[in-house]
């Protein structure tokens, strides 16, 4: 509640000024009161002095003549006429002292130490407890010296009731309080109006800005003031007018724009209709191209396969030809007996079986669209190597095999084989072109926490830096017409990236090109890898 209260600018300003004023008034009041107290005491002192002097004047003869009866009587009269006096002491130096109180008096043998202490050189005053009547409270105690003809006769002590002083103080405090209350009220009211004067325009501005934020830009404030606040209000009005103008312009522009947009939309709709048609045509065209590409890659692969089959078959065909030659020689030489025939038969069957297996292997490879499955990387690579064995052997290429067992990849095994065949064929082509003393292809598989890697490194000297960025492009080839198609690596990359969620990339090593296939593991593979690692 209070916090809310003080959040309001008006109260903040009002209370701040009021507090400053109260502090100032208290400050001034404190000093005024101090001065007043002093002057009240001064008045008291003057009064005491007057009384003492009058006593001195009237009693001088009696004092000098030692007429104590007069002193008693006179002072009793003085006391009777001045109820504010509590007591008078006439003390003679080296003599008795007379203590005269209201309706009472006595002869004192000696003065109290406290009173005696005040008899110094001249007038002296102090507020002390009544030394003559223990039942009384403090009194204003005044001491006045009596000198006659230069002889120090004695002293007059006058005790005033403190309630006179207290009453004076009380009246003074009351007066001050009333004055301050009056001034406070007047000033409070003044501050109230001043604060209002200051804060109201600000509040009005605040309201106006609120209205503006709600969109009411036609706000105008009235202020006839010539000061900064008036100026502020004026400026606000100008701003509001400006904003209002801009808003109107905006509205017009908006309307214009809307019109334009509507027009454009209609045009666009028209265009869209035709565009739709064009896109469809384009897409169809693309699909056709892709089909062609796939077709082409199949053909290319097939071509290469046929080359491979030819190589595979070359050896058993030669053996068969030799066998047939042996039969005709055996017939001519008459060594064709039953044992010979069964041996030849056995050999011939073995050879044709080998050839048949080769065909089966390749046919399997070309059987498309099988289910995705987990397949073992080393097994699949071994199968591929077996298919290519003859052609690699023919070209005196040694394959170094470093395969981690039990690595598994999820995907189409055929497609993976096709990629390996592509890369190996490229390596073989490069090695044929770039004859080395010992042609080697290192094929390696391994894993880390998230990938299974297969790398194939040859020692054919690598890929020309100028073309290394383009080798994955379709139809890019450096080989002669009829030999290279430029589709192999393009398809390989497409298979790895799109169907097996892996990556295929290349970099040049010192001896040759290094192709890396990195296949992302699925979650179970990852965790099993981690646990197995931990076991180690």
């Amino acid at each position: 509640m209070i916090r809310f209260f003080f959040k309001k600018l008006f109260y903040q300003v009002y209370f701040s000024i009021t507090i400053i004023m109260v502090v100032m008034m208290t400050f001034i009041g404190y000093f005024v009161l101090k001065e007043q107290e002093k002057s009240i005491l001064e008045v008291m002192r003057t009064q005491a002095l007057t009384i003492a002097k009058s006593i001195e004047l009237v009693s001088a003869d009696a004092m000098v003549g030692n007429d104590q009866s007069f002193l008693v009587e006179h002072n009793l009269n003085v006391l009777e006429k001045s109820p504010i006096i509590e007591f008078i002491v006439v003390s003679q130096n080296d003599g008795e002292s007379l203590l005269i109180e209201q309706e009472h008096w006595q002869v004192l043998d000696h003065l109290s130490a406290e009173a005696k202490a005040l008899e110094k050189d001249g007038e002296e005053d102090s507020i002390i407890k009544n030394p003559y009547d223990s039942s009384k409270d403090e009194s204003y105690y005044y001491v006045y010296p009596l000198n006659f003809d230069g002889i120090a006769w004695g002293w007059i002590h006058i005790g005033f009731k403190l309630d006179v002083l207290d009453n004076a103080y009380k009246t003074m405090y009351l007066k001050m309080f009333l004055l301050f209350t009056f001034v406070f009220i007047i000033i409070s009211i003044a501050i109230f109006f001043v604060t209002k004067q200051i804060v109201n325009p600000i509040i009005a501005l605040s309201h106006a800005t609120k209205e503006m934020t709600r969109g009411e830009l036609e706000v105008q404030l009235i202020s006839e003031r010539a000061d900064e606040i008036g100026e502020l209000t004026q400026n606000f009005n100008i701003m509001a007018q400006g904003l209002s103008k801009i808003q109107n312009e905006l509205k017009n522009t908006n309307a214009m724009l809307e019109e334009k947009v509507a027009l454009r939309t209609r045009e666009l709709e028209e265009i869209n209709k035709t565009l739709d048609h064009r896109v469809q045509v384009e897409i169809a065209h693309r699909r056709e191209q892709e089909q062609i590409l796939i077709q082409q890659s199949r053909f290319a692969a097939m071509g290469e396969m046929i080359g491979n089959i030819a190589h595979q078959w070359r050896q058993p065909l030669n053996a068969l030809a030799l066998l047939l030659q042996n039969i005709s020689i055996a017939y001519e030489t008459g060594r064709m007996d039953a044992a010979f025939i069964s041996r030849v038969n056995e050999k011939g069957l073995l050879l044709t079986n080998t050839m048949s297996t080769t065909i089966d292997d390749f046919r399997n490879f070309f059987k498309p669209n099988r289910e995705k499955e987990f397949f073992s990387v080393d097994e699949q690579i071994d199968k591929t190597l077996a298919m290519l064995q003859a052609s690699l052997d023919t070209n005196l290429i040694e394959v170094k095999r470093d395969l981690k067992p039990d690595l598994k990849i999820y995907g189409f095994a055929n497609e993976f084989t096709q990629v390996i065949i592509n890369i190996l064929n490229n390596a073989k082509d490069a090695l044929i072109e770039n004859k080395q003393e010992r042609c080697t292809i290192c094929i390696k598989s391994y894993e880390d926490s998230s990938y299974v890697y297969v790398t194939i490194l040859d020692n054919a000297g690598g890929i020309d830096d100028a073309v290394i960025d383009k080798i994955f492009d379709p139809y890019f080839t450096t080989k002669d017409q009829g030999k290279g198609t430029g589709i192999g690596l393009y398809m390989s990359k497409a298979i790895i990236e799109n169907n097996i969620h892996g990556k295929l990339y290349v970099k040049n090593e010192a001896q040759g090109a290094l192709f890396t296939i990195a296949i992302e593991k699925n979650d179970t593979q990852k965790s099993s890898f981690n646990t197995s690692k931990e076991k180690k």
Binding site: D67, Q68, S69, F70, V72, E73, L76, E103, H104, W105, Q106, V107
Partner: protein, 302 residues
């Protein structure tokens, strides 16, 4: 506007009214009362405020009854008494002891008369105060005596005591000092400025209450019989009845109205009662006897 009109109306009404009453007053012949006071017979306490009291009488009281008051104060008692007899004064204020001296002369001209007293005490005793060493009156022969000036009662007591013990008039046996008031007399005794003081008993009681140590130093030797100490206020018997009526009314008002009460306070009159002149003889009996005694003493001396 309206209120100021009202105010004007109110004002003019008052003015008209005041004029009428003033005119009415002027038509009547003003009654005149001449007051005479014997200076010594005015009590000490009253003397101080006499002017104030008289101003009050002329300003408020006299105006109210349309009376012109004049004041005659004189030290010479004989002169004032003669004036009263000759009807040059309508009023005379005096003490009982003075009345006793001139009773035969005055009683024939006294009319409407009042007894008044500064306090409620009807009677007063006087005391003889001496040094503590001796309580014997006889031993004070030739000693210093202090008394209030013009205090006829104290003087009478001193005189009678002197005659009784020493068979001489007091002023012949004693060294007399007169002081302004009895308190002072007691103080003088206390401070050994005098050996004997004759003072009213009530003053001695007051002095003791003011300083109980007094009694160590001041001894009461004797106390007088009680005597009346009234003041007498008397109007001449030849005053016209109409004037007496006015005076009676004003005297009545003195006790009943606020103004009257205030005047009585100023003049320190605590008690006031009407008395028949012939009744006064009973009140002043001790004074008359004293007069007789000193007359006798004087005759003896011759």
């Amino acid at each position: 506007m309206l209120s100021s009109l009202k105010f004007l109306l109110f004002f003019s009404l008052i003015f008209a009214f005041a004029n009428v009453s003033l005119a009415a007053e002027e038509e009547e012949k003003k009654m005149s009362v001449r007051l005479g006071y014997i200076l010594k017979d005015i009590p000490y306490v009253v003397k101080r405020d006499l002017q104030l009291g008289f101003d009050f009488v002329t300003d408020r009281f006299a105006k109210k009854y349309n009376v012109e008051v004049t004041l005659h104060i004189d030290e010479d008692e004989k002169k004032l008494i003669t004036m009263f007899e000759e009807e040059k004064l309508e009023y005379l204020g005096l003490r009982m002891c003075t009345l006793a001296k001139y009773y035969d002369l005055l009683s024939s001209s006294m009319g409407y008369t009042y007894l008044s007293s500064t306090n409620e005490n009807l009677q007063e005793r006087y005391v003889m105060l001496a040094t503590s060493e001796s309580a014997e009156a006889k031993s004070y022969l030739g000693k210093k005596v202090v008394m209030q000036e013009d205090e006829c009662n104290a003087i009478m007591y001193a005189d009678m005591t002197s005659i009784k013990y020493f068979n001489v008039r007091y002023f012949e046996t004693l060294d007399v000092e007169y002081v302004q008031n009895p308190n002072r007399a007691i103080l003088k005794r206390f401070f050994k400025q005098a050996d004997i003081a004759f003072v009213p008993e009530k003053s001695w009681e007051l002095a003791k209450s003011m300083n109980p140590a007094m009694e160590n130093n001041v001894k009461l030797v004797e106390t007088s019989p009680a005597i009346f100490t009234y003041g007498i206020e008397t109007y001449h018997k030849n005053l016209p009845a109409s004037e007496v009526a006015v005076i009676k009314q004003s005297d009545k008002d003195l006790q009943d109205t606020e103004d009257g009460k205030q005047l009585l306070t100023i003049m320190k009159i605590g008690m006031r009662s009407q008395v028949q002149p012939q009744e006064l003889r009973a009140y002043i009996k001790p004074y008359l006897e004293y007069q007789k005694e000193i007359k006798h003493f004087a005759e003896q001396a011759q």
